[in-house]
Structures are given as C-alpha cells and as structure tokens.
Symmetry: C2
Subunit: 136 residues, 2 copies
C-alpha cells in the first residue's frame, strides 16, 4: 500500500517550507512539531536525533503524517500520511541534516547553529514511504 | 491538568493564520488538516461538520493537537496539545463558522463559499482545553 505524491503537490516539498510533522505519543495524543523536510524520490525524509520524544514515538508507532501549507496560498497544501520504513543512522544522516541546513538556513554546516549538539547526538533520517496523499 | 497559552504565543491564534489540526485515525495514523481556528478565552475552537472523518476521530479520541507557525518567521510557532471538552452543535456553531469566515476570508457568510453545504450539514464547534503548550 504505497502512494505517489502528484507533481502539483511535490513542488511544496521542493521548496524550503517548514512542515508540520505528526507522531503519536504513547497516550494517543498527537505530537506535532515544525521541522525541515526533503523530498527524495517518492519518499519524504525528516531528520532528528536518537532518543528524542519524536524518535521514541516513531519507533513505537511508525505511522506519521506531514502537512505542508504554502504560506502564500492557504489553498495549496499537501497532507502526506505514511510509514517510516527505514531509520538511517549512518554518516548519511549527518550529510542529510547539513543538506537541510543549506536548503532552509543557507548554511550547510548544521552544527554552526547547534554547537552544543556537535558530537553529542546521533542524527537519524526517518524515510517516510507515503501511503496516502491529500491536498490541493 | 490544564495549561495556559502564554501571551507571546496567543498572538499567533489572534491572527487569521491557518493551523495544522491533528486527530488520530482508528488505525493510529495521525490525520492532519489545515483549518481555521479561534482563540476563545483559554480555549481554542475549531469548527467542522458532524460525520466527517475528523469529527468521528475526535469522538473516538478527544486528544487533539494544533500547530500554528508564523509564515513570516518560522521560529515563532505554537503547539497546543489538548482535549476536546465540549462538542457544541447549537446555533452557536453556525455563528462561529461565520465568525471564522469573516476573520479568514473577509466574508461572514460562510455558505457563500460553500453553497452546496447549506442546510445539509450540522456544524459543530470543538472546544479544545489546552493540556500542554510548546513553542517559541
């Protein structure tokens, strides 16, 4: 059961728009945070650090949802429901957060913004395979 | 267990910003949609129609979460986790959707945008009592 993101919604993920990323807390409360994201083929990749609330939520329940809204046009948005099919903790996770940092903050050295995290956290990519896409 | 939205985050809900509204589907997948919202005292009110997916989700699990991001400043955002403590299906629900329509679309006759819904749907206000607020 996998879904493809149509081209008219893909462009939202190709721009550096902050997305709303939803996971589920153990008590069933949605946790929704603003995050960076990248479109990689048909997948959406999000990057965090091992052990955070979000990370523990995803490992317990890999069903996650991303909402992105065009800030210039509220009628242009995409909801991507999907499943995290891979947790990548290799060196690629550091390369990915640096890529996101370049896209969103114009500086591809992520730890220049987060010096206290350098060497102290394990970055991880959540590779989200879409299962259903809504939007307009 | 209730939380107060601090003034520096309240202003996000006083502006006509589209919010990301998360509920939980029966299979544990977060459902996240862009919606209008109003701040009413310490509560956040959202308006929909009885019988929709969102409505059925909330009746099964009233734990919901709202994320609002300032489109001009991604570092200014609020996540309001809460519980729907009242479903208001009285005439107040129609007055509320018209109020939101005025705030967000500049026309307080909601059904001028949605003529096919007029008289065919039961509007409902979800009154969300915050239980935890994050943001900056």
């Amino acid at each position: 059961m996998s879904a493809v993101i149509p081209d008219n919604l893909k462009n939202l993920l190709e721009r550096p728009l902050i997305v709303a990323f939803a996971t589920s807390n153990p008590d069933g409360q949605p946790q929704v945070t603003p995050v960076w994201a990248s479109l990689e083929g048909d997948q959406v990749w999000i990057n965090s650090a091992v052990g955070r609330r979000k990370d523990r939520n995803i490992r317990a329940n890999p069903k996650v949802t991303v909402l992105v809204i065009d800030p210039q046009n509220a009628f242009h948005w995409a909801e991507i429901r999907g499943e995290v099919v891979e947790f990548d903790e290799s060196d690629a996770a550091l390369a990915h957060i640096n890529k996101l940092s370049g896209m969103y903050a114009g500086n591809d050295d992520y730890y220049s913004f987060n010096p206290e995290g350098k060497g102290k956290e394990q970055r991880v990519i959540y590779k989200i395979q879409p299962t259903r896409v809504n939007g307009m």
